[in-house]
Every structure is written in structure tokens, then in C-alpha cells.
């Protein structure tokens, strides 16, 4: 951030009075521009004991496999964002989504949230940001070609929890360098 989005004057980093953190503050109109973490919402979708993965058509991690997920938008709930992203990336509709995993990634100021659900009528396709979509049984998950640690961990939890038929909400912090 170099300029004020309200008045266009240059900003500088300062600790405002009563605050304890550096913020971008406008030299013209004195507006303080706060920056906050973003939520990424997605789904782990099951059909006949297989999981729907998408091969990414865009950076970062182009060509790697992911669970459908993306940035939550203004005006929606986390669940609505997760379901929307699953539609946009995999043309898949999700039945009965349930909150499943939540990851804090403080080094990149992100919070990942995955919902667990069933694939409606077994139908899916290839969205604009996807090269290929496919249902994988556990034995064929491309563990070495997954896009993100959050995807890896959600899949691991899912297959373990499936054996017990119990899916508690899983909360984890992912730090870098990784613990």
C-alpha cells in the first residue's frame, strides 16, 4: 500500500495513538487503513467412498491437485462460500455441508475452512480455474501432487475419521517454518 484509497494521498506506516501495531495512515486525510486476515472456504465432497479433487489451472501450485476452495466473498456465509467455490471449480453441488476442518496460517494471514458433504447426483465437471476434476478412492489420492498442506491434512483426517464414522471439527495451526 502506497496511496490512500479514500483521497489518493501517499500513506506511511505509523503506530496510531492508542494502538500497538504499525498501520498504513494517510498523510492527507488521516484515514487508518487496517489490513486483516482472509478466509478461504472449500469442501471435501464424497461420492461412493471417493473424494472429488481438482487439478489447478492457475498459480499458485498450478498443475497440483486441490479440494475445491477459494476466498470467501463479502455478503456470504462461510458455508455459502465453500459451496460456491465447489460449484465454480468443479461444477459440483454439495449436499448437507458440515463444518469439518479449520486451519490458521498466521504467516500468510489466512484462515482455511473446509466443509464436508456428499456430491449431489454424482455430477461434476471442470470449472474455469481447473484443468481436470476427478473422484479418487483413498488408495489413489496423489499425495505427492497435492497443492496445499491444508488439503493434505483435511484428506488425512477424513480417511481416518471415516474408519470410525465420527467427524469431529478439527482445528489446527499451520506455521512456517512448519512445526
Amino acid at each position: 500500500m502506497k496511496f490512500c484509497s479514500s483521497c489518493g494521498s501517499p500513506v506511511s506506516q505509523q503506530i496510531p495513538e492508542g494502538d500497538s501495531r504499525l498501520r498504513f495512515v494517510c498523510g492527507g486525510c488521516s484515514t487508518i487503513h487496517y489490513q486483516n486476515p482472509r478466509i478461504i472456504a472449500g469442501c471435501i465432497v464424497e461420492h461412493n467412498q471417493q473424494i472429488l479433487l481438482c487439478k489447478r489451472a492457475i498459480e499458485p501450485r498450478k498443475g497440483y491437485w486441490t479440494l475445491p476452495a477459494g476466498f470467501m466473498e463479502n455478503g456470504e456465509t462461510i458455508e455459502a462460500g465453500a459451496v460456491r467455490e465447489t460449484w465454480e471449480e468443479a461444477l459440483a453441488k454439495v449436499s448437507d455441508p458440515q463444518l469439518y476442518t479449520l486451519f490458521n496460517l498466521p504467516h500468510i494471514s489466512q484462515v482455511y475452512v473446509f466443509y464436508r458433504g456428499a456430491l449431489q447426483s454424482g455430477a461434476f465437471g471442470v470449472g474455469e480455474e481447473t484443468l481436470e476434476s476427478r473422484l479418487f478412492p483413498e488408495s489413489e489420492i496423489p499425495w505427492d501432487e497435492l497443492a496445499f498442506p491444508t488439503v493434505h491434512k483435511t484428506l488425512k483426517h477424513f480417511f481416518r475419521d471415516t474408519k470410525n464414522n465420527d467427524f469431529p471439527i478439527r482445528i489446527e495451526d499451520i506455521t512456517f517454518p512448519r512445526k
Copy 2:
């Protein structure tokens, strides 16, 4: 948003190619400025069957009682944000915080997250954004002077769940006009 924070040129609202939503796009450098929901993190802190509330010293809802909470910052986890806000607003330290309630407020693009915990050594005080802090038993909660619906609902859940000694994670959407 009127100006580009990267180059200072005027922005306009457009739907970028491949997108489906209006975004602020810079007329100079073509940067797309995404806006996303923010997370508010806080704690419901118990001590001797009483709950710690803070009377707000700032708008919105100045003079009304709240659970300590505030905007999650870049570089922290949700739990760290909840614990930090409890310290800043009530000079209270929280033992063993557990995720408890999560509220989507899509009409204001916020997600509220409350952790449940115990008050360390019974100590608390009055932070900069607080007029008064106090421990309330259930019978004395100022229900008509609570600052936010998320506070009201978290307290209601808490007292109900206390009777069963079972505190499942509670997820709700709060829409306006309220359902």
C-alpha cells in the same frame, strides 16, 4: 474506495474478465482490489459460575455490555486474537480456550468467533476501550443492555450448555432483517 492503493490513480467498479462480481479496478495500473469479510474474535470467560462482561467505551454501542472481542489481526491465529482482545479490553488472561460459537453476519461481511475459557487467577481490569468490567452470574446478566446479537446468543448457549455440561461448537447465521 476511490483511488488505487498501489499507484494512486482513480478506481472504478467493473466486473473483471472471468469474474462475476463488481470489483474496484485501477484505471492506471489495472490492479484489482478485492474486499473480503473480516473475523472478529473474542472470549466468554468464566470464573466461579460468573461471566466477564465489558461496558464499551467506544462506538458502536458505546455504554452497552459485551464479551471482550475485536478484529483478528494479520499474523495471528483466531485463538490468539480472541485471547489478545480479552487482555486488551478486560486485562484478563484466559485458560484453556476452546472454540465455542461461530456466527456469519453476511449483511456486514463479518464472521464472529468466540472461545470459551476460564479466568486465570480471577484477575481482570479495565482496558482502554472499556468503561467498566464485571463478573455477572446468570441471574444478573443485563440482557437488555447487551451490545450485539452475537454476545446475546453466545451467553444464551453458554448457560443452556452449562446445565448439560456439554459445549458443542455452535454455528449460526445472523441476517438482517433478522430471520
